[in-house]
Amino acid sequence: MADWQPLRFMQAPGPKAGRMRFSVYRFDPEGDAGPGTQEYVLDDLTPDMMLLDALLRIKEQDETLGFRRSCGEGVCGSDAMNINGRNGLACITRLGELVEPVKLRPLPGIPVIRDLIVDMDNFYRQYREVEPWLQAREAQPEVERFQLPEERERLDGLYECILCGCCSAACPSYWWNPDRFLGPAALLQAARFIEDSRDEACDKRLDQLDDAYKLFRCHSIMNCVDVCPKGLNPTEAIERIRKRMLRNST
């Protein structure tokens, strides 16, 4: 009774795992060969293992494969990649959900440094550009800056972002204008401070976003919502910024 699996009913359908095939994008900036893909086969996998576990096993076979990871539980945002055509985090993607061969590519539209590692400099520059910190003119009060429960609630769905980049790398507007359109991730962060009752720079923030590019390249395509591994809704956040701009300008 080799494949007697008492908890089988708790597992999502998918390959009975065991052996799985992976097709991984490879690029070595120092090598002469251009980018290509490499096939790997792993044995003894189970459907409940995460893709990151498989990648770590591949790395045991072939230590030249480069990818980022840290927390292993969907918190740090470092192992974002394109998994079978869809951006996601390897550490919270179950092998059982994946069709074979599992195609792994770097995040699309972002310059590749090596293999699955992309250059996030521009992404972080845009994050800094929205000045993601609380701005208040008043001196630091003796106690905390108070918020009503309703005011705190407005930040739900905005503060949870882990800056993995899955959303921006799925946004067609971001692919076309990555240098000047801020992208869903940075705009969600902008909304997080614009909506904060303790922040006093709201008008300045809105003013900064009011040009043809930074926010208004968003055409509500909603790819960002579709891929966010934290279930956030950047499109709605962008809509909230627009509403405030509208209120301010009328």
């Binding site: 507007s173 076309w176 204008n177 003013d207 976003l209 009011d210 040009d211 043809a212 590019y213 930074k214 926010l215 208004f216 390249r217 055409h219 627009r242 701009m245 509208l246 300008s249």
Partner: protein, 109 residues
């Protein structure tokens, strides 16, 4: 509001869209109910100054709406600055020209 590129353009696009729909539906119903159903009745209705002004506004809205949309497409996809400016000027010239012709038609009618 900084100029007319961000919120301004977005707002113009929405407002003109609303007017385009409202006028189309309203004028469509009025013309469909024309009695008798004839060219004379239609041109008579459109010849009334208020209706002519509203029709003119419809034309201008259509052109403004086309401007924002066309400009969006060019900003999205055409990145070489010279080519983009050339295409934007072409679009602007064509829309302005259409606007002038349309205005002349309305005024002479």
């Amino acid at each position: 509001m900084s100029g007319f590129s961000g919120m301004g353009a977005w707002l113009l696009q929405r407002l003109t869209a609303v007017y385009l729909v409202v006028f189309t539906v309203w004028a469509g119903i009025r013309l469909a109910l024309a009695d008798p159903w004839s060219y004379a009745a239609w041109s008579g209705w459109l010849g009334e100054p208020v209706n002519a002004a509203l029709a003119w506004l419809f034309g201008v809205s259509l052109l403004a709406h086309a401007w924002v949309g066309g400009r969006d497409v060019l900003i999205d996809y055409i990145h070489p600055l010279g080519l983009r400016l050339a295409l934007l000027s072409l679009l602007a010239g064509w829309l302005l020209g259409s606007g002038l012709v349309f205005t002349a038609l309305v005024v002479s009618a």
